[in-house]
């Protein structure tokens, strides 16, 4: 029987490549008996699902907030206009 720390390694590995037959069997057996690792696997899946949503969340969480974002945008636009000789 594999241990939990071995199981967490397989749980991580399976997200990136196919496990061998032996590894799949070992992991499946362990998960049947271990609710911690079953939760671990579930939580990793939730993290994968959530990651892109993290980047869509509110503007307020950036340092300096909206003020800074506005100032930055203005600065960039004036750099663009000066570089291209536009109005």
């Amino acid at each position: 029987m594999i241990t939990c720390d071995q199981a967490t390694k397989l749980i991580s590995k399976q997200r990136d490549e196919a496990l061998s037959l032996r590894e799949r069997v070992q992991l499946r057996l362990h998960l049947l008996l271990c609710s911690w690792c079953t939760r671990y696997q579930k939580n990793l899946r939730l993290m994968s699902t959530a990651i892109s949503a993290v980047f869509e969340s509110n503007p307020g969480d950036q340092e300096g907030g909206e003020e800074r974002a506005k100032r930055f945008a203005e600065r960039v636009k004036s750099v663009l206009r000066s570089k291209t000789g536009g109005s």
Partner: protein, 200 residues
């Protein structure tokens, strides 16, 4: 026709600045860990967009195109940093340092560190602002290298081998970093996440 096109480029790109700069800075910030650096790179991105504007031709959305330019610059910087620095972030955690605190010497979860029940599903997790905010904070706490690798793999969905190539590292090493990054993020979220609890 091409001179007309060229003269509208800065105006069009200025509109894109209003619409997309905040998103791009947030994106770059997550990889680079510094808002100042992120802003510099995003500014370079818009400059490159003006210069390359005739290559754009509207085949993708402006955001997609801008993100691809940004990514190129961000990854090139990450590669340079990867080559320059020693594996500092990993050394502070030791060979398996952090992992040892989560498992006892028989390889079982130590009760206080067992994964919590987050009481979320794939549908509810993407809507839960508290969780997303906690996730963002846990990401900030990760060592730089762990964060880069995790985001390249999980956010940009590069394969493990592709991440290895991007950063100039071996694929096995990326596997180890992913393992440790996931362990640490999960642990951070299980510890800080308000609704769930560490109960068996």
């Amino acid at each position: 026709m091409s001179t007309e096109f060229r003269s509208s480029a800065p105006d069009e790109v200025c509109r894109w600045v209003d619409e997309h700069s905040e998103y791009l800075v947030r994106y770059a910030c997550r990889y680079l860990g510094s808002q100042d650096l992120a802003e510099d790179i995003v500014q370079d991105t818009f400059l490159a967009a003006v210069e390359g504007f005739d290559r754009f031709e509207g085949r993708s959305t402006p955001r997609t195109w801008l993100v691809s330019i940004l990514r190129h610059k961000v990854f090139s910087l990450l590669r340079k940093r990867s080559r320059a620095e020693t594996t500092q972030g990993e050394q502070t955690h030791g060979a398996d340092g952090r992992a040892n605190q989560l498992f006892d010497d028989r390889g079982h979860w130590i009760a206080e560190s067992g994964p919590a029940d987050w009481r979320l599903s794939p549908d509810t997790v993407v809507q839960n602002q508290e969780f997303l905010s906690a996730f963002g904070q846990c990401l900030e706490k990760l060592p730089q290298r762990f964060r880069e690798v995790f985001l390249l793999r999980e956010l940009d969905e590069f394969s493990r081998d592709e991440v290895a190539t991007q950063l100039g590292l071996k694929s096995n090493h990326i596997g180890v970093i992913l393992y440790r990054a996931r362990l640490e993020l999960q642990n951070c979220l299980s510890g800080n996440w308000l609704n769930g609890g560490r109960k068996r």
